[in-house]
């Protein structure tokens, strides 16, 4: 029997070990221009079980650039704690050298210049190489997909997710949970899930009519691995019908349902589970809170908020692993499970440097086959960028500034709104902008760009509502996106205030006038969750705008004044 203190020491030793052997070296190695696949994959196999976690791929089959956020604020008890630190603070917390490969992978500074040296990241054929290498060490390693897989690219949209299903099936996952998948509509989701050769899990996916667990999605699955019984419990994104259009999947209900999670943990323990793993799309802060409420979870593989953390975060006896997004990282988690207990953990966040890790030829070919029918559409150059185009950040990013500019000019609006989603790769200054690049940051099944009149009062209500989805101090009320991006209007936000009091000083930028609560303004936006939204598709609006510009330049956005950070 291992005492709680011993357990903590074991796990700390394990993470310190990886911290030293895995992380500290990369900077130096990179400086010597000697970053190799072997070094990225180096891992002293540990214990008797290996988990491979990948999440929030957003249909990025090919290598991309992805800049991490410069601002990712935490509120309440999470203020200043990972993942709510960025840049130099993040590097300091993990002992990462400036300019190193890890700095490039995990932080935003000097992104464009480091990108020239370190190149693209991700690519599912590179991910396949990593998975194969782990399976060579541990043939029965569990591959777990945290969801947001069948959404986010031109080909994924055109094939209603089939390109991703084909490629992922070839990687042979053992289980998956869900979020954006449901925006394909429940009929299509059901069709795919019925044919999946692996477990589709979600203990919180319920039938909306009867408020009972949905039949198609099982709460958990057992796996016999390394002489132990592993229970993997799924947790889908809790706020699907609120953050995304519920009318597309009216048969389903979600929610955090932590009391049901506790029932499931108790049920799998009673059935003999030696270790309990939750494959979660809660978002990091929600997972942290859930780990404190639900007892008996050993590991949470956390997705949704796109955080990439080089070490597990320990809450009580639950280790939370965050594995990034867009195919940029894979986490390997080795567990030592004996006598019905987890005795230790060793973890490594493996960055997928596309120029260092060799593509797996079988998966490369399969990816090319998915893309071939659309090759001409994908590769057409629409324009060029002078600026770094990125999305991540709590309040704005240059991609959304560009999208808002497109809405303002193409839809002749006073104010533009772009949703605070966290997916979408980056482009560097000097890069061509292809149609594929535009779709990578806009594609979705409800992409109509609406144009309507809203009063100043209603615009404030929207901003207050979205701000509370991010900055409510209770993580269970956070939906895991960023602030709605605004074009044509500036505002001040005090993130410490309650809903209704955070937003002030709303100003129409083109005139410099204060927004009048009773006056109507022409607003254009996209990704409305309302059924029957009309307008041209956002990717066409953005394409038209970029074509007219030829080369786009995005000036730094200073229109949001953030207080209380």
């Amino acid at each position: 029997m291992i005492s709680r203190r011993d357990f903590l020491q074991v796990s700390m030793a394990a993470s310190a070990l990886v911290g030293a052997s895995g992380f500290g070296n990369w900077g130096r190695l990179a400086a010597q221009q000697s970053l190799t696949q072997d070094q990225l994959l180096q891992f002293d196999t540990f214990g008797n079980i290996s988990l491979i976690h990948i999440t929030d791929i957003h249909a990025q089959l090919k290598p991309i650039y992805f800049r991490e956020p410069s601002i990712n604020l935490g509120v309440g008890g999470n203020k200043g704690h990972v993942p709510h630190i960025t840049g130099a603070d993040f590097r300091k917390a993990y002992g990462i050298a400036d300019g190193s490969a890890s700095a490039y992978a995990l932080t935003h500074d000097d992104f464009s210049s480091l990108a020239q040296g370190y190149g693209r990241v991700g690519g599912m054929d590179r991910v396949a190489t990593v998975i194969n290498a782990i399976r060579a060490d541990r043939p029965d390693a569990l591959l777990l997909d945290g969801g947001d897989t069948w959404h986010g690219s031109y080909t994924c949209h055109q094939t209603a997710g089939q390109d991703m299903v084909n490629v992922m099936n070839a990687l042979k996952p053992d289980a998956m949970t869900f979020h954006w998948e449901f925006t394909l509509g429940s009929e299509r989701v059901n069709e795919i899930v019925e044919g999946l050769p692996f477990a589709a899990l979600g203990q919180n996916i319920f039938d909306s009519e009867w408020d009972e667990p949905a039949e198609l999605f099982k709460p958990y699955k057992f796996f016999d691995r390394g002489g132990a019984k592993v229970a993997v419990i799924g947790q889908a994104f809790p706020y699907m019908p609120i953050a995304n259009p519920g009318w597309m999947f009216p048969e389903y209900s979600f929610g955090i349902r932590d009391e049901h999670m506790q029932e499931m943990v108790d049920e799998v323990r009673a059935a003999g589970a030696d270790v309990v793993v939750v494959l979660s799309h809660n978002g990091f802060d929600v997972d942290k809170k859930m780990a404190g409420v639900v007892t008996g979870i050993d590991v949470i593989l956390s997705g949704h908020t796109h955080d990439a953390l080089p070490e597990p975060v320990l809450v009580g006896q639950t280790h939370i692993i965050a594995s990034g997004s867009n195919g940029k990282f894979v986490s390997r988690v080795d567990l030592d499970v004996r006598d019905g207990q987890m005795m230790g953990i060793r973890h490594k966040l493996i960055p997928i440097f596309a120029d260092v890790i060799a593509p797996d030829p079988v998966i490369s070919k399969l990816i090319d086959e998915q893309r071939a029918p659309y090759a001409d559409q994908l590769s057409e150059v629409i324009g060029k960028t002078d600026s770094l185009l990125y999305r991540r950040g709590n309040f704005n990013g240059t991609w959304d500034d560009l999208i808002c500019d497109a809405l303002l000019s193409e839809r002749e609006a006073d104010i533009a709104m772009s949703p605070g989603v966290r997916w979408g790769p980056s482009l560097n200054p000097g890069d061509d902008i292809t149609r594929e690049d535009i779709w990578n940051v806009t594609s979705m099944s409800y992409g109509a760009a609406y144009r309507s009149e809203m009063t100043g009062e209603f615009i404030k209500v929207i901003l207050e509502d979205v701000a509370d989805n991010i900055f409510n101090p209770d993580p269970y009320y956070q939906q895991g996106g960023d602030m709605v991006r605004i074009g044509g209007m500036g505002y001040r936000i005090d993130i410490t205030k309650p809903q209704g009091e955070r937003i002030s000083e709303m100003t129409l930028l083109k005139t410099g006038e204060k927004i009048d609560a009773s006056k109507s303004y022409v607003v254009s936006g996209w990704a409305s969750v309302n059924e029957g939204t009309e307008g041209p598709m956002i990717w066409d609006v953005v394409e038209d705008h970029i074509r007219k510009q030829g080369t786009v330049s995005v000036t730094p956005n200073t229109s949001v004044n953030v207080v209380g950070a």
Binding site: H179, S208, D211, F237, P238, Y239, M240, P241, I242, A243, N244, G246, S253, F254, G255, I256, E259, G283, H304, T305, H306, P419, G420, V421, R422, W423, Y450, S452, E453, M454, T455, E457, F458, V461, I462, E464, D465, V466, D468, N469, D474, Y476, Y477, Q479, G480, G481, D482, V484, Q499, G500, G525, A527, S528, V529, N530, G532, T533, E534
Partner: protein, 139 residues
């Protein structure tokens, strides 16, 4: 959004009620109802469980359930509704369990309160904040 102007105004009004006014629009009615049920007795904060979603998927039909072992009656109030009274469940001596589930309509973000009258004549109270949001941008 196919925000027709009428829908937009409807939304705006609903949302304004939710954010501008205090959460308990009917505080005095709520207090009266509680006093009527408990006769002014103190309420323990254990002995009753109220399960409700943190954020309502649809404010028009929010599933809730209450469970208070040994209770003879459970009263449920939606403190922010114009008419806060939702239901009072009475349990006879032969009741197999003292629990109930139903769906309620919530006018906006508010606290849902459940109060159980226990067999020994004491009272227990549980409360859950349920947010009703206009929704939008998920990561």
């Amino acid at each position: 959004m196919e925000f027709s102007r009428r829908e937009t105004l409807g939304l705006a009004l609903g949302a304004a009620v939710m954010t501008v006014l205090p959460l308990r629009v009917s505080a005095s009615i709520v207090d009266d109802r509680i006093a009527e049920f408990t006769g002014g007795a103190d309420m323990a904060d254990t002995g009753i469980e109220l399960t409700a979603p943190e954020i309502a998927e649809n404010g028009n039909t929010v599933p809730i359930s209450v469970d208070a072992p040994g209770a003879t009656a459970i009263m449920v109030l939606a403190t922010g509704n114009p008419t806060p009274g939702v239901a009072t469940f009475n349990f006879g001596p032969l009741a197999g369990s003292q629990s109930a589930s139903t769906r309620i309509r919530l006018a906006g973000t508010q606290d849902v309160v459940a109060i159980a009258k226990l067999a020994d004549g004491s009272f227990a109270k549980a409360s859950a904040a349920v947010k009703v949001t206009i929704g939008g941008c998920g990561g």
